[in-house]
Amino acid sequence: MTLITDLTEVYNSDAKTSEPVRAPVRRRQVPIPLISLATVIGLLLIWAAAASAELVSPVFLPSPAVVAASLWNLVSVGFVDSTLPQHVLASLGRVLGGLAVAVLIGVPAGLAIGASRIGRGILDPIVEFLRPLPPLAYLPLIIIWSGIGEASKVIVIALSMLPSIVISTASGVRSVPKDHVNAARAFGATKRQVTFHVVLPSALPSILTGIRIALGTGWSTLVAAELVAATRGLGFMIQSAAQFLVTDVVIAGIAVIAVIAILLEIAARALERWLAPWASAK
């Protein structure tokens, strides 16, 4: 988590340095990204030192070099019948599939909650029931219902993503400026036109924020779901490696999962800036 926030800070400050004029303030302070970078390097060094001193057996703590080598091995040769890119693709496919389902269901549901009392009465309890549940609690039930194939994983991921998408859509709908709706009505818009030309675009920034949060939740749910039931995917890869005590693959897998989580966050932010530039322009 801190890595993500640090990274977004690097990201944002990058954008700011492109301004032509910079105020000459506080020269002597070390920039925060530099401190973060130093921390990461420091941790790596401690890890390397601990590994080379063999404080614990290399089976439990392989050195960074061994992990890097195994990462390369994962890409070129693979592990448990698939190469790393294949594992990554399997995992990403499930997350994006789950996201598609969650958006298709969650956005209309959020619209209904935000725009109508009846919709709110019906859907609120369902969302409030789902929201605090850890996805792994209902995974066994989903597996009973839909087997251990792709469907069960996509369903679990979609369910874990739904609450944040529904809630952020509903809050976006509720905060549509009254004047925006009134303006459209004064120009003769029908209810349908108000929904599609005013309410949805106005709620878009909020929906996108929901999607960004959902991607984070979905990703962690996915890896956990793959630990339980899968034949390919990053979670499955780590779980298999752990069973054979191939610790370097476990650590490499964890690193890959973290990097992808960060990349997803960055992609989601880029999407927000691209689709709803007015939200950040204010």
Binding site: A183, F187, G188, P277
Partner: protein, 267 residues
Amino acid sequence: MNRLFFNDVSLAYPARDRQGVPQLVLDRIKLSIATGEFVVVIGRSGSGKTSLLNLAAGFQEPTGGTVTLDDKPVEGPGAERAVVFQDDALYPWLDARDNVAFPLKLKGVGERERRARADELLDLVGLSAAGNRRIWELSGGMRQRVGIARALAAEPRFLLLDEPLGALDALTRGKMQTFLLGVWAKSRSGALLITHSIDEALMLATRIVVLSPNPGRLAADIASSFAADILAGASPSEVRASPAFKRMQDGLTGLIHADSPEEELAA
């Protein structure tokens, strides 16, 4: 000619708590606006000006009396009554041109024609180069002009404007007043403009309606000819310097600020 008519219109907002009495905001307003007229409603803040405009637009229903358009009761908003909002209410996800073309899009006008008409209107409000600009890149004055162009795109019989120049600096505001007057004269529509500036009322109105607060009542309905002078070519500063203008200004000040003379005039 079309006529928008407030027939003894009253409006009360529900009481805040259960024991309270409903709050009467407008009390038996009788007011008529015809196309070709520029009626300016002036009154202190809280006197019910926005409520009056919302009734004319059809955003709200009166609790007493009726609002009629050509003798037919107004039931909700309609494209023949376009609204310009104080906070522009432009859509940030559309560029300036698409904002202006929005009423046409709702009517199902084709892309090509929409574009052409929007460009004409942008030209009319002096923003021919700004069609592709994003709303948040425009200054307050430019945004209000886009808002006015958007209202005109609906080809309304009546323009309803709620303090459209309230957020602008004095210089821009003066320019916009002259501009607005020209646009209205060309469009041959009826205008209902709300302001709390006496100067603005005198510069724009063919008729000035004074609303006294608590509850809002019509305190005066006065014909004014300064707008006609400006349209005939007189300069605003000339008009402002005339003794007749000063006299009207003093008269209106007396009417509006009868019970609180220390309140500052927002000019």
